[in-house]
Every structure is written in C-alpha cells, then in structure tokens.
C-alpha cells in the first residue's frame, strides 16, 4: 500500500450528469435522492389524508380521480391503505434513516463515503422501484389494495374473491414491500459496516454524535426486522399465487365462496408482520431521537445531558422493541398470560423512553436557548413524544386495549408518537442541515410560522381523536353518517377536518421555503450554528470525498459546548488540543 501513503483520495466527482445525479454512488447524492423520494411520498400521503378527512365530513363532495367523483367505501379503504403504506415505509422509514443518515453519517464519522457505495446506490433504486410498483397498483384492474398497511391475512391472501383491490392490487402491494425489504436490508448493511469500520482516528464509540448512534441502532433493527417481513411476504405471495395454505384457514367462506385451502393460520401472518412491525416503529423514531438530541444540544449551547444514558437507553429501546410485538395483537384472542407478559414488557419500554425525555429536558435546563426553527421543531418533538407516549401506557394494557384497539384512540396515539414526532424530527433536521446541504439558509421567519401552524395544527387534529376513541368511534369506517351513536360526534370530526386542511396548507410554507431557498436563500457559511461535529468542519458545499483528502482526527466528545475556560462556546471534535483558544 506504499503507493497510497499520504492523503491520496478520490476527490473527483464523476463527470456525466447521469452518473453524478441519477446513478450516483456518492452518499450525499443518494441521501438527497431519498429525501426527495420521501418528499414526494409525503405529499401524496398528505393529499390522501385530506381525501379521507373530506369524505368523512362531506361525503357527497366531488373529488377528482374517483368514479363519478364519489369516494366509495372501497375507495376509502384504498386511500387508507395507500396513505399508511406510503407514510410508514416511504416516508418514516426512508427519510430520517436513509435520507439524512446517508447524507450525514459518513461525514460525521470522518469517512469518505459509505462502506459499499454501489450497494448504497442499489438500495436507493430498489426503494424507488418499490414505490413505483406500489403507486402503479392504483391503476390496475380492481385498483389498489384495501387491506391496510398491515395487510392482515386471510383476506390479503385469498385474492380477488375477498374484495376489489385484493387481486392484482394486493399482489403489487406485496411485491412492493418485498422490494422495499431488500432495499432496507442493503441499506442497513451499509450503515452498520460503515459505522463499525470507517470511523475516523480517535472516534471511539462513546465519542460518536447521538445522530450516529440513532442511525446505528436503527440499522441493527432494520437488519433483523426486514428479513422477517421479507419471509412473510414470500409466504403471502405463495398463498396468493401458488395455492399454498400458510395463512388461509380451512373451509374459509369469503363472500359466499367456499375456498379449498388447508388449515393455515391467519395469526401466523400477524405474528410475522408485527415481529417486524414493532421494531419498525422504532426504525421510524430512533433516528429522530438522535437528531433531536443533536439539535437540542447545539441550540441550548450545552452538552447533551447524560450522553451515556442516552446511548444505553437507545440500545435498550432497540432491544426491547423485538420483544413486544404481541401488544399489537391483544384482540386476536391470545392467551391472557401472553398478553400480560407482552403488556409488562411494553410498559418497561417506558423506562428508557422516560430517561431520554428527562435528558432532553436536562439538556434544555439552564441552557442559553436559541429558538431557531430547527430548535422549535426539536422541542415540538419532545412535546409530541410525551403526549403520544402517555396514551401508549393506556394502550399497553390489554383490558383497555380491548376497548380502544379499533378506535380513533389508536390513530391519535400512533400519529402523535410515530408519525408526527418523526416528521418533526425531519423538519428539525431539514432546517438544521439545509445550510450544509445546499449552501443557503432557509428563511427562519417562514420556518417559525411553519412551526407554530404545524404544532398547533397537529394537536388540533390528533388530540380530539383520543376523545373520539373513548366515545367508541371505530377507525377505518368510511362513513360516520350511518351509525346513530356517532352522530353527536360529528362536530369533532368537522373540527379535525378543518384542522387537517389548516395544517396541510401550512406545509405549503415549507415547500416554498425549501425549494426557494435552495437557490435564493441567505448564503450559509461553513458553520452557521457553531456546531462541534464533523459536518461543520468540512466546507460547503461538501467535497466529493467529504474532506478533500484531509481526513480528521477526533480529540473529544461530540457536544463540547460552553466548556469553562475556553474562548468560544463550542470546541469542534477535530480541533487539535494545542489549537483550542483559551479565554
């Protein structure tokens, strides 16, 4: 290797436009591709949610794209399915991990790229293909699947006879998710390999930024969870296409047709799905937790309170997430003793979660807080995490869950803690890293207006849903008109729908701010937030190999803010001790 001694590196970006921007192996381009893919998915998903809210309170409203402009009950379920699948897989799983993680993990650990750049590219294009396949299912005979993002067997397994969209549409759904599994596995492989082996000199595990910890633990979860979902998809596909009976029980009568299958088990699908599905919840939120810790520390000008406790609680949450899948199945008729066990372990997750919340508040406590847009979204995340977490304690108890499970209560719960909290983390990440990614600032004023509208808006949407749930309003119903006991709840539904339209309109501010600022925002210097981690040491725009050949050595932990006796209130991780300016 003597030929390579010294800072020999691959500083040249590929020349051609296609190699540079489309089939790129550069983690920064791939990260941006993921973010844009997620942005398209979230846009479609949000429009679908508006269609649901419109249909619920104005059932006769004409909506473009539906037969005669009317949303039929089947259409409503299609919209539910598409909304859930797009949001969970192509937004929550994709953007915080594959998007921001791809972009910033190698930079934050001082690596020139991901360990396996070609696999990285492949995993993006698998994800892209998966989304195309999913969206195409809306245009096949029978339309998109109506079986929800969980695709419960046996109706998802028996084919067209079970309802419209359960023919070709459902098959395409399964294929799409299987492709997505492949993509996520490759992505997880890259994240793990890179973090384990390509860290800069001096970057010990306990010096890694909490963002890196978040992405690392998430990658562990993805690696172990998506293989299981892939196996489940293979079995489901065989049930659908090859007449096997993994999930289809004997003598199943669907729509008056007796099916000739063996004695398969629909519960088997639920077990396999939720063995993936619960870690998936944390796959969506752990990167957000890392990002939030990072942003809170930067804008409080204080080290993260209890860094090690943050790492251990992150790991504990990751581990426990594999042991609680049964709490999604309390109403499946499981043995009450199993339910009790799942319930207790679920409640135990409250402990590391509370540690994290305590430490976030501890980080804020006594800090010199800068209320930037990123910081506001980070604080908003903590708020949503607490609110959504508290309702989780109720749902974790089988006796309560039996009543609440199929109601709006669950919708309120998981949207706050998983959906909106993760979205807030993405917003925080966007406002925080935008200057590094595009060399310009987003407008802080617009960002703050965006925050307050969104923050108030999402609470107005999802808090009343808890009330609806207590009142017994079932989820997934296409109509609230035809059920007598729901009629007094109509005003609440109106309120939610109006709040949804208000919140969605507020997102237009974000779109404008995002796309306008790429070119026209206030130019950003190298380290606008006075951050300590490596992404702020490299120039903007970030060179092709991240460090232009001058790879850093790490001398200290990631959150050295307001260190007593120093001139500046931050000490970068890679600043040599002899260069640190004393006060």
């Amino acid at each position: 290797m003597s030929a390579h001694a010294g800072p020999v590196h691959h500083a040249e970006a590929p020349k051609g436009w296609i190699r540079h921007y489309i089939f790129s192996v550069d983690h920064k381009i791939i990260g941006t591709q993921y973010i844009l893919l997620g942005l398209s998915a979230v846009t479609i998903g949000m429009i679908l949610s508006l269609i649901m809210r419109t249909h619920l309170v104005w059932p006769n409203a004409h909506i473009w794209g539906f037969a005669n402009g009317i949303v039929s009950p089947e259409d409503y379920l299609r919209v539910v399915t598409m909304h859930g699948t797009l949001m969970v897989f192509f937004v929550l799983t994709t953007v915080p991990q594959s998007g921001f993680g791809n972009y910033f993990l190698p930079i934050q650990i001082g690596a020139p790229d991901m360990a396996f750049p070609r696999i990285n590219m492949l995993s993006f294009w698998f994800t892209f293909l998966a989304m195309i396949v999913l969206l195409s299912s809306a245009f096949v005979p029978g339309g998109a699947s109506i079986s929800g993002w969980t695709s419960y067997a046996p109706l998802s397994a028996v084919g067209e006879v079970a309802g419209p969209g359960l023919g070709m549409g459902q098959t395409l759904w399964v294929v799409s998710i299987a492709l997505f599994c492949g993509a996520s596995l490759m992505s997880a492989l890259n994240f793990l390999g890179t973090t384990i082996d390509l860290r800069a000199k001096g970057l010990s595990l306990m010096r890694m930024p909490l963002t890196v910890w978040g992405w690392f633990i998430t990658a562990c979860l993805a690696l172990l969870a998506f293989g299981v979902l892939l196996a489940a998809c293979v079995l489901l596909l065989l049930d659908r296409l090859a007449a096997t009976s993994f999930f289809i029980p004997a003598n199943l009568d669907v729509s008056g047709v007796l099916l000739h299958h063996g004695g398969g088990s629909p519960l088997l699908w639920q077990h396999l799905f939720w063995f993936f599905g619960h870690p998936e919840v944390y796959i969506a939120i752990l990167p957000g937790m890392g990002i939030i810790s990072h942003v809170l520390s930067t804008f409080s000008r204080k080290p993260v309170f209890g860094y090690k406790a943050m790492v251990y609680s992150l790991t504990a949450i990751g581990f426990l997430s594999f042991t609680v899948w049964g709490h999604h199945m309390f109403i499946s008729g499981m043995n009450p003793f199993s339910a009790l066990a799942f319930s207790i372990i679920t409640l135990v997750i409250g402990v590391p979660s509370a540690i994290k919340t305590f430490n976030w508040l501890g980080t804020l406590w006594g800090g010199r807080i800068h209320f930037t847009a990123a910081m506001l979204f980070a604080i908003g995340f903590v708020s949503l995490f607490v609110t959504g977490g508290l309702s989780g304690i109720f749902l974790a108890q089988p006796a309560l869950d039996l009543y609440l499970h199929d109601t709006y209560y669950v919708i309120g719960h998981f949207h706050l803690i998983m959906g909106v909290a993760a979205i807030f983390a993405m917003f925080a990440a966007t406002y925080y890293w935008f200057p590094k990614m595009f060399g310009h600032h987003m407008s802080e004023t617009l960002g703050k207006v965006h925050f307050w509208c969104t923050f108030v808006g999402v609470y107005c949407i999802f808090m009343p849903m808890h009330y609806l749930g207590y009142a017994g309003d079932p989820r997934r119903y296409a109509s609230i008109e035809s059920v007598n006991y729901l009629i007094p709840l109509h005003p609440v539904h109106y309120f939610i729908s109006i709040a949804a339209f208000f919140t969605a309109s507020a997102q237009l501010l974000f779109y404008w701010n995002f796309f306008w600022s790429i070119k026209h925002g206030k130019p950003a210097e190298r380290n606008p937030w006075h951050g300590t981690t490596l992404e702020w040491s490299v120039s903007t725009p970030v060179p092709h190999d991240n460090f232009a050949g001058h790879y850093p050595t790490i001398y200290r932990g990631p959150y050295e803010y307001s260190v007593p006796g120093m001139r500046d209130d931050y000490v970068p991780q890679d600043l040599a001790p002899e260069l640190v300016a004393k006060a």
């Binding site: 290797m1 390579h4 001694a5 020999v8 590196h9 691959h10 650990i109 001082g110 690596a111 020139p112 790229d113 360990a115 396996f116 750049p117 596995l185 997880a188 492989l189 793990l192 390999g193 384990i196 082996d197 390509l198 860290r199 800069a200 000199k201 001096g202 970057l203 010990s204 010096r207 690696l223 172990l224 969870a225 998506f226 293989g227 299981v228 892939l230 196996a231 489940a232 293979v234 079995l235 065989l238 090859a242 096997t244 009976s245 993994f246 004997a250 063996g262 004695g263 398969g264 088990s265 088997l268 077990h271 396999l272 190999d545 050949g549 001058h550 790879y551 850093p552 050595t553 001398y555």
Partner: protein, 218 residues
C-alpha cells in the same frame, strides 16, 4: 504473497483510515476507530464485517421461515408427513465435503501453493453445483411421490426452505467463481477467500440445520 493485491480507486475511497491523519498520526488518544498499522487493514476488514452482518440478515430471514414452519405445524391439523427424499443424505454429505475442500484450499493458499489452491477451490465449486443438482433431484423425488408445492403445508415448507437455501447457495457459487477466476476489483485475494469461505461455511451449517428440521419436523 505471489498474488498481487489489485486495487482500484474505489478501494482508496473506502480506505478512510490509516495514512490520512493530518497532524502526525501517533497521538492515539483512546480511539478504537482505526488500527494504526497498515493502511490496507481498514478497507479489507470492512468486507469481513459486511459479510458477517449480511449473514445475520439472512439468518433472520430463515429463522422467520423456520418459526413459521413450527407454528404452522403446531396450529393446523392438516399436517401430513412426507417421505424425505433419499438423495438429501447424499447432498448433505456433498455439501459437508465442500466445506472440507474449501478449508483445504485456503490452507494451501496460505502456504503459497497457488496451483493447489485453485484445484481445491474448483473442487469446492463443483461440489456446490453437485449439491444444487442433487436438490433438483430431491424435488423430482418429491413430485414423484405426489408432493407438490401446494399439496400440504409440509411440502410447501419443504420447497420454500430448499428453494430459499438453494438461491442463497447459488449466490455463494457465484462468489466462488468470482474469487477463483475473475479479476478482483476492490478486495485482496486474501480477503476475498475469507469472505467467500465464511459465507460458504454458513450456507453449509444452515443446510445441516434445515435438513435436521425437515428430517425431524416433517
């Protein structure tokens, strides 16, 4: 080593560590990030890490199928045992032998015996192909005894597990061919043989496990 360590520029991208520290390397301050020694240690290690992680994912995939097997057998009352195809015993012996030849090939490689290495590496590849051919014969035997994919959950699992394992093993055969006969781009031959061997032994062990499962659980 007689074999040259072929590298291309991408390998250099990956060699994040080693020779790059700006301010005089030696100030090792507790970081476990890089092993100060040779520059090539870092990029090569990542391939071994990579295959280990990949095997973890594959293991989870198979464990999901295996738990489905156990649950499906326990929950349904329609399970019908099938006659295990006799050729599977032979196949298992062939695959075990291939792990043996691979160990021997790597031993020869470490001694610097290129010719012997290639010979036994080829032998490993052929045994792998023979195993796959044998698995196809096993499928024929299953069909001959009236067990198709959808006949019974027992046979469904038989085909799914053998097909999934076969597909992964085929990947291993491609890896053997790549390492043995094609020009390596990023890996050194040492790492490449190590990575391929790890995967091959894993496939071998996985098959023994699956075979025992089918044999005892069918």
């Amino acid at each position: 080593m007689p074999h040259s360590t072929t590298t291309d520029e991408l390998e250099i991208i990956i060699s994040g560590g080693g020779p790059k520290a700006p301010g005089g390397g030696g100030s090792g301050d507790g970081g476990d990030g890089s092993s100060g020694g040779s520059g090539s240690a870092l990029p090569q290690r990542v391939y071994v890490t990579g295959i280990t992680i990949g095997m973890g994912a594959i293991l989870m995939f198979f464990m999901a199928l295996v738990s489905a097997f156990i649950v499906r057998k326990g929950m349904g009352n329609d399970w019908r045992a099938f006659e295990i195809p006799r050729v599977l015993w032979l196949n298992t012996a062939i695959l075990l032998a291939s792990s043996g030849t691979m160990i021997y090939a790597r031993r020869l490689f470490k001694r610097g015996d290129q010719k012997g290495f290639r010979h036994w590496w080829a032998m490993t590849t052929i045994l792998g192909l023979l195993f796959l051919a044998g698995q196809l014969i096993a499928w024929r035997q299953m069909v001959a005894s009236g067990f198709y994919l959808a006949t019974n959950p027992s046979s469904s699992f038989f085909y799914v597990l053998t097909a999934a394992h076969g597909a992964h093993l085929l990947g291993g055969i491609f890896a053997l061919i790549y390492v043995g006969w094609l020009r390596l781009r990023k890996l050194t031959i040492e790492t490449a043989t190590e990575v391929a061997a790890l995967y091959w032994h894993f496939m071998d062990g996985l098959w023994v496990f699956l075979f025992l499962l089918l044999l005892l659980g069918r």
